[in-house]
């Protein structure tokens, strides 16, 4: 018997803000709002129909007021880059309960006015500020490189295998006109880029861009009369198992070990049925450890798994076909853009980079210091 919430909601529309990349003249809130209107247009739904708002980064109250929306369902879950993936799961639950029928999920981050999130200030409640920042662990590259080194030491994973992820992701980016970095790269290019925090070179790290993105989730009833084909939510999962990287129970296994089986179990799909994987790539290592944690390969075998072109164009597991946070865009909490690409692939809108016969996509967002995860299984109509 299928899970009671199986196919309980659909993604009706997605889009970016008007511009992404370097957008110095727009506030983060503007990027939220532009993307929201673009996603509603993609769905063919007027904003007057929106009865649920979910957002992270800014308060949902700001987004709703800016757009003149009075929601009866609100989700301000803010657990880093995975937040928007988790919002989809929550929206499905609210829709299934009859509390909402059109939920607008928004993201936007820009550097205008120095608005980029920086390291925490002197707040005694900021644990990382208290117990990690004094040692120079102030931000994602520093935290994630410590986890990557543990994997290399335990399992013999190499820098070259990590670099292979950046190379394959760039191959996809070269086919996405919206990607910021489109010139092909080699493993040597990764090695020759400047060191950030060993074992990470610059090209092991995601971009830092200005961008907005939005996603409209609707009830099965409302999905019948949208502009394009709906993308169905088959399974949802979420988890987090620490805040600071030093307190992560196992640096080589993320909470996707919980959110993944939850989503795949609800969806009733196996790994072999996944046509597209959209895996948060804040760093090359994030992809490797997430694929392992989701069970695409055994713990420790990710290095071999990601090599030999498996993730790239023509590979057995097309992954991050938009070019990812590594090469397309990464505005801070990137998870929203996983939803955009999965939806577009499942609607066969991706042109040159379209994955043939793409029916089922797995989306996995990661937030914090490898802390939180949200997993979705999505399917074409």
């Amino acid at each position: 018997m299928p899970h009671p919430l199986y196919r309980g909601a659909a993604i009706a529309g997605v889009d970016e803000s008007d511009q992404i990349g370097n957008v110095p003249n727009k506030t983060s809130l503007q990027l939220h709002a532009e993307a929201a209107m673009n996603a509603l247009a993609d769905a063919g739904i007027d904003k007057s129909e929106v009865d649920g708002v979910a957002t992270a980064g800014v308060s949902p109250m700001q987004t709703a007021e800016y757009l003149g929306i009075v929601p009866r369902y609100t989700d301000g879950t803010s657990v880093g880059g995975s937040s928007f993936v988790i919002h989809v799961g929550h929206a499905l639950e609210a829709i299934s309960d009859g509390r909402a029928s059109v939920v607008l999920i928004t993201h936007g981050e820009g550097h205008m006015g120095g608005g980029r999130r920086g390291p925490g200030g002197p707040d005694p409640s900021n644990l990382a500020g208290q117990y990690e920042a004094p040692f120079g662990v102030l931000g994602p590259p520093y935290a994630y490189s410590l986890a990557a080194m543990r994997h290399m030491a335990l399992y013999g994973t190499t820098k070259e295998q990590l670099a292979q992820i950046a190379v394959q992701t760039r191959q996809w980016a070269s086919m996405n006109p919206k990607a910021l970095m489109r010139d092909p790269i080699t493993v040597e290019d990764v090695f020759n880029s400047r060191l950030i925090s060993y074992p990470f070179n610059l090209l092991d790290c995601c971009l830092v861009t200005d961008a907005g993105g939005a996603c409209v989730v609707v009830s099965p009833e409302r999905a019948r009369s949208i502009k394009k084909k709906p993308v169905w939510v088959l399974g949802i999962g979420e988890a987090h198992d620490h805040s600071m990287i030093s307190q992560m129970p196992d640096l080589t296994r993320t909470a996707a070990q919980y959110s993944g089986p939850a989503a795949m179990g609800m969806a009733g799909v196996t790994h072999g049925e996944i046509d597209l994987a959209m895996i948060y790539d804040s760093f090359t290592y994030t992809v490797l450890v997430t694929l392992e944690s989701l069970g695409f390969c055994k713990q420790g075998e990710g290095g071999a798994f990601v090599s030999n072109g498996r993730l790239g164009p023509g590979g057995a597991l097309p992954t991050n076909t938009n070019g990812g946070g590594l090469s397309y865009t990464h505005s801070g909490m990137y998870g929203m853009f996983l939803l955009l690409e999965a939806t577009r692939q499942l609607r066969s809108e991706c042109g040159q980079r379209q994955v043939p016969d793409c029916r089922i996509a797995l989306v996995n967002g990661t937030g914090g210091s490898l802390s939180s995860t949200g997993t979705l299984v999505l399917a074409a109509d």
Binding site: D123, E132, P134, Y142, Y198, L251
Partner: protein
């Protein structure tokens, strides 16, 4: 007479909850929270045991010995104040008593070929202000 420039890197804030830990560090001793109910030490200092939830918690001095859980070598300074330090080694250490701490590995070259995950380390303290000494680790003298 020369004046020292002010310490510009992040400085932990002392609160009633963590004060004993920082007092220990100031004395160059590593004192961690210890749960009387489940008989385990834990880090970072909290008034509620994260293992069993008990509030019957005390303080215990640790041996200061441990092993290197992982490390990284910072080349791009996270803030301008760290520029004079790069390259430096960030590290996570497993204390022999169990808890895991973020720290810096000092007293060894920042060369990945010379540093081994699992190597024995011991605590050493860096006095950064009148109140705060940071617990750092160096290769153990006698493994």
């Amino acid at each position: 007479m020369t004046t020292q420039p002010p310490y510009a890197k992040p400085i932990p804030l002392i609160t009633p909850e963590n004060e004993r830990f920082w007092q220990g560090c100031k004395a160059h001793e590593l004192w961690l929270r210890f749960c009387n109910a489940c008989a385990k030490p834990y880090y970072y200092p909290r008034d509620i045991c994260p293992i069993c939830g008990a509030r019957d918690v005390t303080w215990k001095q640790m041996s200061g010995k441990g092993t290197l859980h992982t490390f990284a070598i910072v080349h791009r300074a996270p803030t301008p104040a760290f520029r004079e330090d790069v390259p430096f080694i960030t590290a996570i250490v497993d204390l022999d008593e169990g808890p895991r701490m973020m720290t810096n590995l000092v007293g060894i070259a920042p060369d990945p070929a010379k540093i081994t995950v699992g190597m024995p380390v011991e605590v050493t303290f860096e006095d950064i202000t009148e109140q705060i000494s940071l617990p750092k680790f160096r290769p153990a003298a006698y493994p």
